[in-house]
């Protein structure tokens, strides 16, 4: 089965659909038309560029070019995670990159090389979408983990210091906050897995079915990718937080203000 292409005039019809929410929001007094227009424009431009780039990437199918694209995705993710977590990339950039890159590469290669086994394991058509999906989900988890951990430490500075002064090592003193942060980061993934297929049909599966795959093949891909997302997010969060401990504290186990980009309430 071939996928029915969406012709350009038909695609314009979907843009017309935006008039409906636009009017509704205007009627209830929300003046968001400018923000919505900018977002839709950005999305369109970015996706067109990605489309052009991915087509070239898939046609060329050069491992070095694929690697470069993944590195670019990782760098963007790195800065985005730290910006949203309120931490300074100058201090945490390398640690986050190592944590995210190692977990993404491990999960992607595991899935592609051992599970999917395409004729060429460096096939961009597999590597890039899979790495992208895992990275997108892992990014969210890392933002939650870092943000939760450092805002909890700042909020409970007195408690953390008490643990230290009662003889706790740095690890013993941060452990409760560390566990809470990892739990919060993994909760969405766990909840997502528990309700998958009941509450919503996952995007990747839907995409594959629309793309002409058998539902059973789509289900198997979805299962594999979900487990990889969970593995990768857990690995990245734990490694990221662990590495960050060596940067965020001074030799006397005191959290350094200079590493925090903004005050969190």
């Amino acid at each position: 089965m071939n996928t029915l292409d969406i012709e350009f005039p038909q695609l314009l019809l979907t843009y017309l659909l935006c008039l409906l929410p636009g009017t509704l929001l205007w009627l209830i007094g929300l003046r968001l038309s400018r923000d919505i227009a900018i977002s839709i424009l950005r999305m369109s431009l970015q996706l067109v560029l990605v489309g052009v780039y991915l087509k070239t990437l898939f046609d060329v199918n050069n491992p070095a070019l694929t690697g470069l694209w993944i590195l670019l995705m990782l760098l963007i993710a790195d800065f985005s995670i730290l910006k949203r977590a309120g931490l300074k990339p100058r201090y945490f950039g390398l640690a986050t990159l190592i944590a995210v890159a190692s977990s993404i590469l491990f999960s992607t290669l595991y899935l592609v090389v051992l599970v999917i086994q395409p004729p060429h394991y460096y096939d961009a058509r597999y590597i890039i979408p899979i790495a992208g999906m895992i990275l997108g989900n892992s990014m969210q988890g890392n933002v939650i983990a870092l943000e939760r951990f450092y805002s909890a430490l700042r909020k409970n500075e007195n408690e953390y210091t008490t643990y230290l002064l009662l003889g706790a090592t740095r690890w013993e003193a941060v452990k409760p906050y560390f566990q809470d942060a990892v739990k919060a980061a993994l909760n969405p993934s766990i909840a997502n897995m528990a309700t998958m297929g009941l509450v919503s049909l996952p995007g990747m599966m839907t995409g594959q079915i629309l793309g002409g795959s058998e539902p059973w093949t789509a289900v198997k891909y979805q299962l594999a990718i979900m487990i990889c997302i969970f593995t990768s997010t857990s690995m990245a969060c734990v490694i990221n937080l662990k590495l960050s401990l060596n940067i965020a504290f001074n030799a006397f186990d005191v959290l350094q203000d200079k590493v925090i980009a903004q005050a969190k309430s």
Binding site: N158, E159, T161, T162, Y163, L164, L165, L166, G167, A168, T169, E172, N250, A251, F252, D253, V254, D257
Partner: protein
Amino acid sequence: MIQFDHVCVTARDKLILSDINFTLNQGDKAVLCGKSGSGKSTLLKTLLGLYEVHSGSISCLGKPLTAASLHVIRSCAAYIGQEPMLGADEVRAALLLPFKFKAHRGRLPSEPEINQVLQRLQLPTSILKQACRHISGGEKQRIALARGLLLGKQLFLLDEVTSALDEECKQAVIQVFTDPQLTVLSISHDALWLEHSDLVYELKAGQLSQIKANEYTRY
């Protein structure tokens, strides 16, 4: 036991402690007085490595205070603030909290030891079952003191530790620290507490000077 040698401490580019010199021998009971914001709490916390020393040096038990020797001071000192954080839901759990850490594991105090310490601080044994959020400020201070005593700490750094105590409890706490083995560096403006101290220091705009107890003026 403790020596401050020309110690200066800055925080956020502001000089908090300036050229601090003093020595505390084992068994000394010293009090720091001074206006609010004069750097008293900073001085106690600097000793525990919570503030970085800008210049000068601190030594504890003959060893200079560095990241490597930090555990020496933290393992022999107990810091009790005005509103101590107990770190557990129930009083018994709070009292035994430090024994979960590697440094104190396997040294869990016996029931009679716990009861004896509580008695010395005029605390009923029934308090062990209470929730920490339901006990008073004065009880929290004494539970924190009890924790220090159960850990066998030799040096007590006390920040206004009698502020929430009535006369009877204050006397009990003072009595505990008459032990010649215990060294005390405290922040207090309490006349009774000052009476029982050997050394009184005054901090003025980050500078320390020794005064006589009767020179003390209430802040």
